[in-house]
């Protein structure tokens, strides 16, 4: 960090950081036992929300000079918001974290490769849905054409960082470009119409996880929802917001608000905790923009997770859900839990399935270490958190882990790879394994129920 950057970060902290929120943290430490990075660090204050806020405040007050270590400390946070949901003082930690990252990222003069990578990812890929569609389409070709076989077996993957290799291995079979393009814009309810909903597609959900999206829609229809899937939607921009690209985030948020604005729907349904939570905080994103704030508030008030609407529409009571006998456990999506406050509903749905023995894992509510791009950028910490998590998962003897967010899904798959169970699973098939773990996402699971119509008795 050069002197110019230091001065600018300092000035911008003073100007832009919400000093009331910084002051509101009364340093009681209630957040400490809930923070995954604080725990993994062995109790270092610099790895805690209280510590980070103290450093932000010191920089904003001009008492502390920001440096590379400061940037590292701010970036080490998973953003899981376990702290925010236990904070008695109601400190808006996420707002502080995002503002801090935005100031740092927008001030830093990164090296050319870093700049390029950020531009490609944030502006080229996630900001332009068409490029994302093409990229995933290409990935589809990679997976289907034999290129993947070549890549994995020639050792070429060894050239990439291990965390990326692990991610490549656990990617789902993604959608083809053609399938991605053919998303319908309106779907009728099956049977009696109980609600009219909009569906937020998501960028990765509607490309990489297109199967899940299709099944989510099917499920909504079965539950009695008439669905509108407006065009013009953008990525939710969580990845931008969390990574210090706030202006991009606002651009995309505006597109999403506009896409649903004139639509006569009761709710806007999401099926990925990370996306839903970010959509739900659009009002905070625009809190200083009177023109957009009210529009954002209206948008936010309609956001609802798929599991919540299913429970509200009593889907699990009206249909008999059945799966082969198995033990199942659930891994909370931090943002679904801590921001959208949705954690009972997924459990209620799972427990309602005949044949499923639901076993709650210890600390199901704590972050799995995926945290968006965190698992790639901070692989060490991420893997430490994951390994601790896997111990709890294995203790349940579950054969199915259910998650509610694509990032968590991939991370838990990495966890299984690391536990060395994946090979065994492939070799022996699910049925014959001693301690098998099979992974599915929440929408995936429920739609699986739908597809196999024999499960509806």
């Amino acid at each position: 960090m050069n002197q110019n950057e230091v001065t600018l970060i300092r000035e911008r902290f003073r100007e832009k950081m919400n000093s009331d929120q910084l002051q509101n943290c009364m340093r009681c430490g209630y957040c400490l036992p809930h923070c995954p990075t604080f725990i993994i660090s062995g109790g270092k204050e610099t790895s805690s929300p209280r510590g980070r806020i103290a450093l932000m405040r010191a920089v904003a007050n001009g008492e502390l000079e920001p440096d590379a270590e400061f940037e590292k400390i701010i970036n080490e946070c998973l953003g899981c918001l376990a702290c925010e949901s236990v904070c008695p003082s109601g400190v808006k930690y996420m707002e502080l974290l995002e503002d801090a990252r935005d100031i740092i990222c927008q001030t830093r003069q990164y090296s050319a490769p870093v700049k390029l990578a950020r531009k490609v990812i944030f502006k080229g890929l996630f900001k332009k849905q068409k490029n994302m569609d093409l990229f995933i389409g290409a990935l589809n070709i990679y997976q289907k054409s034999g290129l993947r076989f070549i890549a994995r077996n020639t050792g070429i993957m060894k050239l990439f960082p291990s965390s990326l290799v692990a991610t490549e291995k656990v990617l789902p079979e993604v959608g083809s470009y053609k399938a991605i393009k053919n998303r319908p814009v309106r779907l009728p309810a099956e049977g009696e119409k109980l609600a009219k909903v909009g569906f937020f597609k998501g960028c990765l959900m509607d490309t990489m996880f297109i199967t899940e999206n299709n099944k989510t829609l099917k499920l909504l229809q079965k539950a009695g929802c008439e669905i509108e899937i407006p065009g013009g939607q953008a990525c939710c921009a969580a990845i931008h917001g969390h990574s210090g690209e706030k202006d991009d985030a606002k651009d995309m948020a505006k597109l999403n608000i506009v896409a649903f604005e004139n639509m006569d729907v009761d709710y806007i349904i999401t099926n990925a905790g990370g996306c839903g939570a970010y959509l739900m905080e659009y009002d905070i994103l625009f809190q200083h923009d009177p023109q957009w704030h009210d529009r954002a508030k209206k948008f936010v008030s309609k956001i609802k997770d798929i599991s919540k609407i299913l429970v509200e529409l009593k889907f699990h009571e009206r249909f008999k859900l059945k799966l082969p006998n198995q033990v199942m456990t659930y891994q909370d999506s931090c943002h679904l839990r801590n921001v959208m406050k949705t954690f009972n509903e997924p459990r209620e749905l799972l427990k309602s399935i005949e044949g499923v023995t639901y076993v709650e894992q210890k600390n199901a509510h704590t972050c799995c270490g995926s945290a968006g791009t965190y698992s790639i950028l901070h692989a060490d910490v991420s893997m430490q958190i994951l390994d601790a998590k896997m111990k709890n998962v294995l203790d349940t003897k579950a054969t199915t882990i259910v998650t509610a967010n694509p990032g968590c899904l991939l991370q838990m798959r990495v966890g299984i790879e690391r536990e060395g169970l994946a090979k065994e699973m492939n070799k022996n098939g699910i049925k014959h394994m001693l301690s098998p773990i099979f992974l599915i996402s929440s929408p995936h699971l429920l739609v699986r129920v739908c597809n196999l119509t024999i499960l509806f008795v």
Binding site: M26, R27, Y30, T46, A54, L64, E69, P88, S89
Partner: protein
């Protein structure tokens, strides 16, 4: 800043992973939970065992480097707010339970063990460690001991000090001593164990502690009683004790506190009454039943609007947990929370509550009151903004007057949070100038170089003037 040479010496003792002196690390240990302005210490040192603590203390004593021992930094009076030249000693590496002795009913712990972990460990064996400060989920036992932390169960079971049987302490000269032991009786010389308890880190560094355990009470019952005014709630507290019932917990929350606590905890606390008492009794089922019924009668006679008994332990725990969050929840009201813990004899609770309201009106500040009413220990809290100098000054003046009122009622300036930095100017009200001089004599005898948490409780370099 420490010289390169001294830094090397610390690293030689604790290893480079356990010595930090970057600006960021220092800033992260520059505060405690009091509203005082943070001060960056010279370094942060995390010893791994008692021998290392001894080495560190010897080094510091030789080079006159102050030492601030810090648990989780939850102090409310500035006790662990460091000074610029000090090292902060932290205990993240000394966090083991050494022994659970089921024959002598003791647990031996290192200072970095989290208080509520002790509860979990001993309760699994049918034993009980009663002290339960509101910070117990994050506070370390070492901090609890040197601050003599209280808690919600203090009324019946006493405070941390009542459960400290023996200590291993590194004295300011680096010598390691062991005080007390697993002994029901021990009069071998001065009671150094209890001297260390509540000494706020000014006399030495606690490196191990033997704590007393008792059998876990068989059952407990929790109730809340709602009152239409503060006085009747406060009077009820005195009435219950006067009827020779000692509940485990007898907590008081006023309307403003109730509102913020419910806002945060969402446990269904009523917010349409002026005051609420949270009452818990434990012991054999028949006695608990009898006491709870009697208490309910007393509440009714004292004008209680409603009485609710928790259906089960989970519901009871939720209520107690909600109460523990009161101080932090009050931070919702304003950027700064100024809180005190003046304590009066139980019989004076109603007078104290009245005085708090009079003082709040006089200085035109909002004072929310909650606390351990049963043991006379209230927490009047003023939501304010330290950046608003005029208002903050009024709040400070209000509290200064409250200290005087408390002492006049036969009370003290601090029941459980300690003197630290924030209450130094009021210490003489309670112990007198001669009392402070006596404390200083002890301090200087043990710590002639004044390296142990200097400037806390009192300033040893200044002479007290008797008026």
């Amino acid at each position: 800043m420490l010289s390169k040479d001294i830094q090397e010496k610390f690293i030689a003792i604790v290893g480079k992973d356990n010595f930090e002196c970057s600006n960021m690390e220092r800033a992260a240990y520059s505060f405690d939970s009091s509203p005082l302005q943070p001060v960056l210490p010279a370094a942060v040192v995390a010893p791994r065992n008692t021998a290392e603590v001894s080495e560190i203390v010897k080094l510091c004593n030789k080079h006159l480097i102050p030492i601030v021992s810090r648990g989780s930094g939850t102090n409310l009076a500035g006790g662990t707010r460091p000074t610029e030249d000090a090292i902060v000693l932290i205990f993240r590496n000394m966090n083991s339970v050494v022994e659970l002795d089921e024959e002598n009913l003791t647990i031996t712990v290192q200072p970095g063990v989290i208080t509520s972990d002790i509860h979990t460990i001993v309760e699994a064996k049918g034993l009980f460690y009663p002290p339960d400060p509101s910070s117990m989920k994050m506070s370390m036992i070492g901090g609890n001991i040197v601050e003599n932390a209280g808690g919600l169960r203090g009324l019946k079971y006493g405070v941390t000090g009542d459960y400290v049987m023996g200590l291993e302490v590194v004295l300011p000269n680096g010598e390691i001593i062991k005080t007390g032991g697993k002994l029901a009786k021990d009069v071998a010389g001065y009671n150094l164990t209890q001297l260390m308890v509540g000494s706020e880190g000014t006399l030495g560094v606690v490196t191990e502690a033997i704590l007393k355990l008792i059998p876990k009470p068989e059952t407990k019952k929790t109730m809340i009683a709602l009152f239409p005014d503060l006085n009747s709630a406060a009077q009820t507290v005195s009435d219950i004790i006067a009827n020779k019932i000692i509940p485990v917990t007898l907590e008081f929350l006023d309307k403003a506190t109730l509102k913020v606590v419910e806002d945060y905890a969402k446990v269904g606390l009523p917010t349409d009454c002026e005051a609420l008492l949270l009452i818990e009794q434990d012991g054999p089922a028949s006695i608990v039943e009898r006491d709870i019924n009697k208490i309910a009668e007393i509440c009714k006679a004292a004008n209680a609007m409603d009485i609710k008994i928790a259906a089960n332990d989970q519901e009871a725990d939720k209520l107690a947990t909600a109460r523990r969050s009161a101080l932090s929840a009050l931070a919702r009201l304003a950027p700064t929370t100024l809180l005190e813990d003046a304590t009066v004899p139980r019989s004076e609770i109603a007078n104290m509550v009245r005085a708090i309201n009079e003082v709040a009106a006089k200085y035109n500040v909002q004072i929310c009151t909650f606390g351990h009413a049963g043991d006379g220990n209230l927490h009047p809290t003023c939501p304010t903004d330290i950046r608003n100098k005029e208002e903050y000054h009024r709040a400070e003046s209000a509290f200064a007057e409250l200290f005087e009122v408390a002492v006049k009622l036969g009370g003290t300036i601090t029941g459980e949070h300690g003197v630290g930095i924030m209450k130094q100017s009021f210490l003489h009200l309670k112990v007198g100038h001669a009392g402070i001089e006596a404390m200083k004599a002890i301090k200087l005898a043990l710590d002639p170089n004044n390296i142990m948490n200097p400037g806390k409780i009192f300033d040893v370099t200044k002479t007290e003037v008797s008026v």
